[in-house]
Amino acid sequence: MADLQRPIISRIACYGRHLCLLLVTALVSVFGLYTAQANANQLMERKLTLGSITPGATTTHTFNFTYYSATNVGSVRFEYCTSPLPDIPCDAPGGLDLSGAALTNQTGETNFSILSAQPNSIVLARTAAAPTQSASSYTFDPVINPTGTPDTFFVRISTYASEDGTGPLTDFGAVANATTEDVLLSTEVPPILKFCVGLTLGTDCSTADDNLIDLGDLSTSRAAKGSSQMLAGTNADFGLAIAAYGTTMTSGNNTITALANPTVSAPGNGQFGINLRKNSDPPVGEEPSGIGIALPTSRYDIPNKYTFQSGDVVATSPDATDIRIFTASYVVNVPPSQPPGVYTATITYICTASF
């Protein structure tokens, strides 16, 4: 019985060895492929200068770079893509057209002519020769710029020993540039930033016209409270931030201490602070609402804890956000020693785009 089993086991072991060998070969092939791709040297001092940066303009594109390798160069490929990485398939930038371009100027390593010109690529070719002038420039004209606003695009530059832009790469490098519209052409162009404040707002800013919050009489035994609302939204990709600027409550030279850190309301102590949450002590405020993604910042996001520091960012959105309504709750406490008087404060909420 044991004699019967031994050959089976040794056969399994043999298959296992073959399987391992196959696996190792496969891994070596995969790594080998990637190593081969990574073997190209970097072109140095790369630069792309556009004659005009206006989207869709017919202009010149001038490339400057320095050859790194001293081996023969027979062709150079310029490929315009939306990504610089050769690992990512090349997508052509919208509106770009190189198909009518001519090589109008070349310096440094010369004797090139256009072998082929496609809407997003040009191949220059010559009789293969080792570079003697490493710093070179090539100007193409006319080129139709991409049409995005702003539209960053990349050009992958590859050099080859072959004279047709194929085969193994010798040097590789990418350059980036962007088209930008200088002056807006229409009266209302997205993106837009919307912001309003008021005592109570509906689902939009159409009734944003109250600006006075009545806190009633200040007392040493109970907190004075009040609230206002603000609405913010933007379709700009870079998001928004709302900051609160102003002073604590003052009456002549007398002030009520602003809470430097989030603190619970304590009647009988000098306190002035705000937050953007629904509170139970004292009962004031509402939770943020609306389908946007903007949120209160951490210092102003703690129920029943209040703080105020002029210039603090009270809410942010890292991205475009639909409208979001925040309720600011104001809490004021005074100590028995607080001098009597009419106390007032002015708080300006500033909503800006992020960058």
């Binding site: 200068t49 350059v175 919050i213 939204g233 870079f238 956000t321």
Partner: protein, 345 residues
């Protein structure tokens, strides 16, 4: 007759009070262009308009305009406006180059395009220059309550082309774990045990005199070197690194776009980071970023990071597999040992 006189007096008083309150109310709702970018040659000027909309349908908007300087509040893109009485002018300020009206009035529900002219002196060096235009809604103030006011701003960036110093340094690159409360903060991490990393982040320090907008791509490769995820745009929100700032930029491994409409029909697209659907294992992320204004050399920053994605279920599964293998080996050895014993007998 006396009663009639009283009624008329009360009516007049009521109308007067109503009129007074109407006069005192003012719009606190603004819609503005959030950001404008210009490229202006030294000695040239550009005239454009700034869009301001009065979002109140009931009250006119009296708005004051002024140029203010700003810098970066932190490592995110939040601007810190310099609103003091006489703040020192920043080295990158365009306040002296801006010509702008100081106030305007916009009827309820209407909008206006306010002209702005930016003139760059002929001897101005190449670089980035920026300030903000602040719009403040003017409200009546009382001395008895808390007064609130709405204000917004347009960030204005001007690039003066030429031979500028451009210098970004990669300080950190890695997989990013956002805080659960979505406050925009988080930590770099190289081990993920619940979900695969949805976000990556990099920190760039700008020591040049150009506010740079890096652009590039990122790929994620598995332990065999195969690309499993491509991120075409590694700076999809076109975020800037201001002069002197260290900026953190986050990018989704996989992005989904949510579309929504507000009650007025304005459409907004919100990007959210999705699970990239990685299998358990070790991964490497490579990023290549480019920056440089037109006419300057393209600068490239490349960085690489690695991380493990080992969810609990995969560790449990691995444990079970190891147990099964150990069990099988033990059973086989036991069977062989048993037979040897039999033969010996």
């Amino acid at each position: 007759m006396k009663t009639l006189a009283r009624v008329v007096s009360l009516l007049i008083a009521a109308i007067t009070l109503l009129t007074v309150s109407t006069v005192h109310a003012a719009s606190n709702g603004l819609g503005v262009t959030p950001r404008r970018d210009f490229t202006i040659q030294p000695g040239k000027s550009v005239t454009d308009t700034l869009y301001i909309s009065n979002l109140s349908l009931n009250q006119d908007l009296q708005v004051n305009l002024r140029a203010v300087d700003f810098g970066a509040a932190n490592e995110t893109g939040t601007p810190a406006l310099q609103l003091g009485d006489n703040p020192p002018q920043t080295p990158w300020s365009i306040k002296p180059f801006i010509k702008l009206t100081s106030n305007t009035k916009i009827a309820a529900g209407k909008s206006a395009n306010v002209p702005i002219t930016i003139s760059i002196p002929a001897n101005q060096g190449a670089g980035s220059y920026y300030s903000a235009i602040e719009y403040t809604a003017v409200n009546p103030e009382t001395k008895e309550r808390v007064n609130i006011a709405a204000s917004t701003a347009s960030l204005i960036f001007v690039t003066v082309p030429g031979d500028a110093k451009e210098q970004l340094t990669m300080k950190q690159f890695g997989a990013w774990l956002s805080n659960a409360n979505k406050d925009g903060n988080g930590v770099f991490s190289s081990m993920f045990m619940s979900t695969a990393p949805k976000e990556f982040a990099y920190r760039l320090q700008n020591t040049g005199n150009i506010a740079e907008q890096p652009s590039g791509s990122m790929v994620i490769k598995n332990m065999f070197g195969r690309t499993v995820k491509e991120v075409q745009d590694a700076n999809p929100r076109k975020q800037l690194v201001l002069i002197g700032q260290t900026r953190r930029i986050q990018v989704c491994a996989k992005t989904s776009v949510l579309e929504s409409k507000d009650p007025n029909g304005q459409q907004t697209q919100q990007s959210v980071c999705d699970d990239p659907g990685l299998l358990p294992g070790r991964y490497t992320a490579q990023i290549a970023l480019f920056y440089g204004i037109n006419g300057s050399s393209s600068q490239e920053i490349a960085a690489k990071t690695s991380f493990w994605y080992l969810p609990w279920w995969s560790l449990v599964a691995l444990g079970v597999v190891i147990l099964i293998i150990v069990g099988l080996i033990w059973l086989i050895r036991r069977a062989f040992n048993g037979r040897r014993t039999k033969y010996r007998r």
